[in-house]
């Protein structure tokens, strides 16, 4: 009984590694791309008053706008994260470091996508102290101060989670760490476009997440090296 179970496990692992090998660069891999938009009237984003932190206010020629919803022409949605939420092969954490900056009392990027276990470095490029307070629930919650000129804070998150990040000193600073257990996840730019490549043939669930709009999912199928399309349209509810 036990040997048969072990055998099926081995077979499973073999298939997984084979499909993984097939998906290498130039291999039999497809992709999915599309645009994230919204319909309806989004709440008006207001300018941020940074007068309490003159060193940051001076870095913005025009006042920085609240970044909860950032949109481009044609109601495209920036800072949405599109990722493969089901159907993907298990992947190891990439070894390259992802970088998060605090500059002009703003988080750059506003939404940072990383793989569970991937090394993260947080920099303070400002002339003022920040405290980095990722409000994790599944992962441990920590809160560290970072005065100007201090070295990068190094961290990793072991569990996939959408973690709001804030600075308690500058209450307008809000961002997100999006920790995924797939390498197939990207944040959209101002044009709302995304593209995920390197998908071996199979059925997948593609999910788009946005901090205000919530999540939308759809099923796609990749055959051979086909390029699938998945467009997402969030509904902005008036309030």
């Amino acid at each position: 009984m036990r040997s048969r179970f072990a055998l099926s496990l081995t077979l499973l692992a073999l298939t997984a590694s084979l499909t993984g090998a097939l998906a290498g660069p130039g291999g039999n891999a497809g992709s999915v791309s599309g645009t994230v938009t919204f319909t309806g009237t989004p709440p008006k984003m207001r300018p941020i008053d940074m007068s309490k932190e003159p060193s940051c206010a001076a870095q913005h020629a025009t006042p920085l706008m609240n970044e909860t919803i950032v949109s481009g022409p044609g109601n495209t949605v920036q800072n949405a994260v599109v990722y493969i939420s089901a159907g993907d092969q298990p992947s190891a954490a990439p070894t390259q470091t992802v970088r998060y900056d605090q500059k002009g009392c703003e988080y750059l990027p506003h939404v940072l996508v990383m793989h569970a276990g991937q090394p993260l470095e947080i920099y303070n490029d400002d002339q003022t102290s920040h405290n980095i307070h990722p409000l994790a629930r599944t992962n441990p919650e920590w809160n560290k101060s970072q005065p100007p000129g201090s070295p990068a804070i190094k961290a990793t998150y072991a569990q996939p989670e959408f973690i709001p990040v804030k600075c308690n000193i500058h209450p307008w600073m809000h961002g997100y760490f999006v920790v995924l257990n797939t390498t197939h996840g990207v944040a959209t730019g101002n044009d709302g476009k995304f593209s995920i490549a390197g998908l071996p043939p199979g059925k997948y669930t593609v999910t788009a997440w946005h901090e205000k709009f919530g999540t939308l999912s759809q099923e796609i199928e990749i055959t051979g090296s086909s390029a699938a399309t998945a467009n997402f349209a969030f509904k902005a509810l008036p309030y």
């Binding site: 919650e141 560290k144 101060s145 005065p147 308690n168 000193i169 209450p171």
Partner: protein
């Protein structure tokens, strides 16, 4: 036939897993405080009698009194604790929890539970650790607290510089009254408004009233609150200087406050005001 076989395998595996889970839960449900070993099953009885009214049956901080209690009772299912000897983002030691239960939290509804026996308090600590699976990791390593440096005027003045440069004043205010520019915007990790400590209020510190306790507060941070850890940014000697300065902000008598009050009248003009440059 084969399918039944596999199903049997899966069920067996599941049973094995759940057995392992029970074992893990039992393993984590003891506490070690000094020479005492706390037992969670016994702690559950104490908990249901003394703690459940505020902290709730499920340990989620939603007991029947919770809605009238501010700050809110601790949610043990989140396993995030303010008063620790361990670095930010790690779990407290059994001793830390035991001291919190024993000491209570001044300026909150959490009383001191010193009237309970030491064994009963150790049992409660063991039970509190059953509410979150995070306890399977074990606590962090306590941060070192080197011997305190002498409280001199030089140390106090250097501490005052740190209060300025580390931007403590942004929340705690120039005079430590808890009224800095960011103070009114602060919320805890559950989005409840929270106030920075007012040094002039004359209340003791939440996490203990010795200088070493104060040292630990800003080196470990108070997790779940806006108070961050400064362990990466303040060297131990400097940290003691900051402790000495913070004592001068309090109204109660202390060697540091005595030094400060004797020095100040002749030198008030030399001090650069704390606040924005």
């Amino acid at each position: 036939m084969q399918r039944i076989f596999l199903r049997g395998c899966a069920a067996g595996f599941g049973l094995l897993l759940s057995a392992a889970g029970v074992l893990a839960a039992q393993a984590q449900s003891v506490s070690h405080v000094g020479n005492l070993t706390g037992n969670a099953a016994a702690g559950a009885r104490e908990y249901r009698r003394y703690c459940v009214g505020c902290h709730g049956q499920a340990g989620d901080g939603l007991g029947e009194n919770a809605m009238w209690v501010d700050p809110r009772p601790r949610d043990f299912t989140a396993a995030v604790f303010k008063c620790r000897s361990t670095p930010t983002g790690t779990l407290p030691t059994d001793d830390d929890l035991y001291r919190s239960v024993t000491r209570g939290f001044v300026t909150t509804n959490m009383p001191s539970w010193e009237p309970l026996t030491r064994q009963a308090r150790a049992n409660v600590v063991a039970y509190i650790k059953t509410f979150s699976s995070r306890w399977s990791q074990g606590p962090g390593t306590p941060i070192p607290v080197p011997p305190e440096t002498p409280a001199t005027m030089e140390s106090i003045l250097h501490g005052r510089q740190l209060f300025q440069s580390m931007e403590c004043w942004k929340c705690h205010g120039a005079a430590g009254h808890g009224d800095g520019p960011s103070a009114s915007t602060l919320t805890d990790s559950k989005d409840n408004p929270i106030r920075p400590y007012n040094f002039a209020s004359g209340s003791r510190f939440k996490c203990g009233d010795s200088n070493a306790d104060l040292y630990r507060v800003f080196m470990t941070g108070l997790d779940g609150t806006p108070m961050p850890s400064f362990a990466d940014n303040i060297q131990p000697n400097d940290a003691w200087d900051l402790v000495h300065f913070l004592r001068t902000l309090q109204p109660m008598p202390s060697p540091e406050a005595a030094l400060w009050q004797a020095w100040l009248p002749g030198h008030a003009g030399e001090l650069k005001p704390i606040g924005p440059d």
